[in-house]
């Protein structure tokens, strides 16, 4: 008994140590990547030919007003010093003030990020719910008409300029047919009715039990979410198909079939089980892409999300806002990558 206890303990320790080491290495590489990301963004912001002072004071300002703001922004200090100051603030959770709307950047991000999160989540849901079954069926019936259709659907998705499809969608479904809500997240009358808890209107209105707001928000989000969903569907269904094909040609599938297992059990019970980890990685990647803020979709649909926030800030030289937004987006991307890496390590037998 004591012996078994001892071996188990030893085993745990043995498996824990590399795990811990892995986490530490991962954390280290994440922080280095973040630092690099910040520095690159910072440098881009400084070499941009847009004068941040001018962006604040406007074209009519006198030279003395201009000089005062120049000093206030610390632009008279060397670049590296400015960067270190900025880093110090960020490490203390302070992204600075947005130069252009006089609010803390963190407040802005807290406002715009939920909008993107809501859209990206719904889009990914659509992509997964339709894309995975489509991919599986296409693989199982390789070469059939359904495989061909799945292929065309995916290729069309890869080929469509999203800003154009968005415009056309708005024109047809909002302008002509009136089936969906227009640009923006809500009609004017529905704004500011439900208290903002999560910043995601669908969830907020559901919590408040206000189904009118919910319906309105849904009518606004459904078109852009479907568009984004289509793109992730294209990607997810293609990847699912090729993962499945790999499994279906594996020996154990043949064995299972020979043993007389039903086709259904073979597909879902065995082949699909084995691609789950790979699939989650793919979904995470697609989710990360949508979370980065689909700039063009957000612009077409006047969606106040993080993509259009960073873009607007960039074009008006609001560098605090750009940096803050990039940090958040980069962090999400890196974390989702890390997450799928870990998943691989923990569940994939081959990587052990």
């Amino acid at each position: 008994m004591a012996l078994t206890e001892n071996t188990r303990e030893r085993r745990v320790r043995a498996s824990l140590a590399p795990w811990l080491k892995g986490v530490l290495v991962a954390l280290g590489s994440v922080s280095i990547t973040m630092l690099g990301l910040l520095f690159v963004t910072f440098v881009i912001g400084r070499v941009m030919p847009i004068d941040p002072v001018l962006a604040i004071v406007g074209e009519r300002a006198s030279q003395s007003t201009y000089d005062a703001v120049y000093e206030q922004l610390g632009l008279d200090k060397p670049l590296l010093v400015q960067f270190l100051y900025y880093l110090w603030d960020v490490l203390h959770g302070d992204f600075g003030m947005s130069l252009l709307n006089a609010r803390p950047v963190s407040e802005d991000i807290a406002r715009v990020f939920p909008a993107t999160l809501e859209l990206a989540t719904l889009g990914t849901l659509i992509g997964v719910l339709l894309g995975v079954p489509l991919g599986v069926i296409a693989a199982v019936r390789r070469g059939s008409w359904i495989d061909q259709i799945a292929r065309v659907v995916a290729l069309v998705g890869y080929s469509m300029p999203i800003f154009w499809l968005g415009l056309m969608g708005l024109l047809v479904f909002y302008g002509v047919l009136g089936w969906v809500g227009g640009p923006g997240r809500l009609d004017i009358f529905y704004q500011d009715i439900v208290p903002s808890r999560t910043g995601m209107i669908l969830i907020d209105s559901a919590i408040a039990g206000d189904w009118g707001v919910f319906r309105n928000a849904f009518s606004h989000i459904i078109l852009p979410a479907t568009l984004l969903g289509y793109y992730s569907l294209a990607y997810i269904s293609r990847m699912t198909r090729s993962f499945m094909l790999e499994q279906m040609s594996a020996e154990y599938v043949t064995t299972a079939r020979v043993k007389g297992m039903s086709e259904r059990q073979v597909i879902w019970g065995h082949a699909f089980r084995n691609i789950r980890v790979q699939l989650i990685t793919v979904i995470a990647l697609s989710y990360a892409n949508l979370l980065e803020g689909s700039v063009l979709t957000e612009i077409i649909f006047s969606w106040p999300g993080i993509g259009s926030y960073i873009t607007t800030a960039l074009l008006s030289a609001d560098m605090n806002a750009v940096l803050g937004g990039t940090v958040v987006v980069g962090l999400i991307f890196i974390c989702l990558n890390l997450f799928s890496d870990l998943l691989y390590r923990v569940f994939d037998p081959r990587s052990k």
């Binding site: 590489s29 941009m48 154009w164 090729s242």
Partner: protein
């Protein structure tokens, strides 16, 4: 007839007489497989047509794409002399689309030359040399991967100023990291092979090993990847044009044409629709071809 048959036989031989013979033979077999793929051939056909259209634009286009006629603006589809109508300044949309194909091809070609080569260089060096070089290069790759792609391109263009050349650079800047990762992964497998050890034992320098032995082995997967990425490049270029950061007016860049036309979307929808269809057709063609190429060049279909 008999001569072509011999050529065919020569190409289809199972016993190649030289290395070149073997390579040509495998290329020909690949081509035969590709030719059997209707959709890929369809894509290839569109692309050939596009190249011809770009080459002979002055002969094909019914009008000068730059000539304005304020008295004849926003003509509808199918109006006499202007099958696709006219835009806000009275320019012929069809002619602008035809000339715009030159810009699209220009961008695609340049990006397809810059990004994979940069990625290949970084990836193979990192993979082959290893150690600190690998760590640093891959960290840099990660940083660029973590950037929101369009935002990075936007920032770059905003920093350098709008224009086609800068748009090309910006797109290349966002497109190289995946190639680098891919090339590194391939290099790692190739490096460990007996064949490379043998070459190394013969005293070949690392530069020679990388350029002569590793690069050629990475090429085929790279080509597939590039073809599949072409559509993404076209869409990114159009996106930049749409935001006013690509080609400058009066260039008939397709993305910029959509952006100009979106103002009239309710009453004159074709102004934005036609260039959108053009972008869609070309990127679809690249995707169809890429999909077919993957079947030919990459037996393990779809693996990344």
């Amino acid at each position: 007839m008999s001569e072509t048959l011999t050529l065919r036989q020569w190409l289809l031989t199972d016993e190649p007489t030289s290395r070149r013979h073997a390579r040509l033979a495998s290329l020909y077999k690949g081509w035969l497989t590709l030719r059997g793929n209707t959709m890929a051939m369809f894509g290839l056909g569109i692309l050939v047509a596009l190249v011809l259209m770009a080459l002979f634009a002055p002969l094909i286009a019914p009008h000068d794409p730059y000539v304005q006629n304020l008295g004849n603006r926003l003509q509808p589809l199918g109006s006499p002399g202007h099958p696709f109508g006219t835009d806000s300044l009275g320019r012929d949309i069809l002619s602008r689309l035809i000339y715009g194909s030159r810009i699209t091809l220009y961008i695609v070609t340049l990006v397809a030359l810059i990004a994979p080569v940069a990625g290949l260089l970084v990836g193979t060096v990192a993979g082959y040399v290893g150690g600190w070089v690998d760590v640093i290069l891959m960290r840099v790759t990660d940083i660029f991967l973590a950037f929101p792609r369009l935002v990075l391109a936007l920032a770059f263009v905003a920093a350098l100023g709008a224009g086609i050349e800068n748009a090309v650079l910006a797109i290349s800047l966002t497109a190289w990291p995946p190639y680098a990762r891919m090339a590194r992964a391939e290099t790692l497998t190739i490096r460990a092979s007996d064949y490379i050890s043998a070459v190394r034992l013969q005293g070949a320098s690392p530069v020679r090993i990388i350029t002569r032995h590793i690069w050629p082995l990475c090429i085929s997967s790279l080509i597939v990847r590039v073809t599949l990425d072409m559509a993404g490049i076209i869409l990114a270029a159009a996106g930049l044009g749409f935001l006013g950061l690509g080609a400058q007016p009066p260039s008939p860049e397709w993305g910029a044409m959509i952006s100009e036309g979106r103002r009239f979307i309710l009453d004159h929808w074709w102004v934005a629709t036609m260039p959108g269809l053009a972008i869609f057709t070309v990127s679809l063609a690249f995707n169809l071809l890429g999909d077919g190429l993957r079947d030919v060049l990459d037996p393990k279909e779809g693996s990344q």
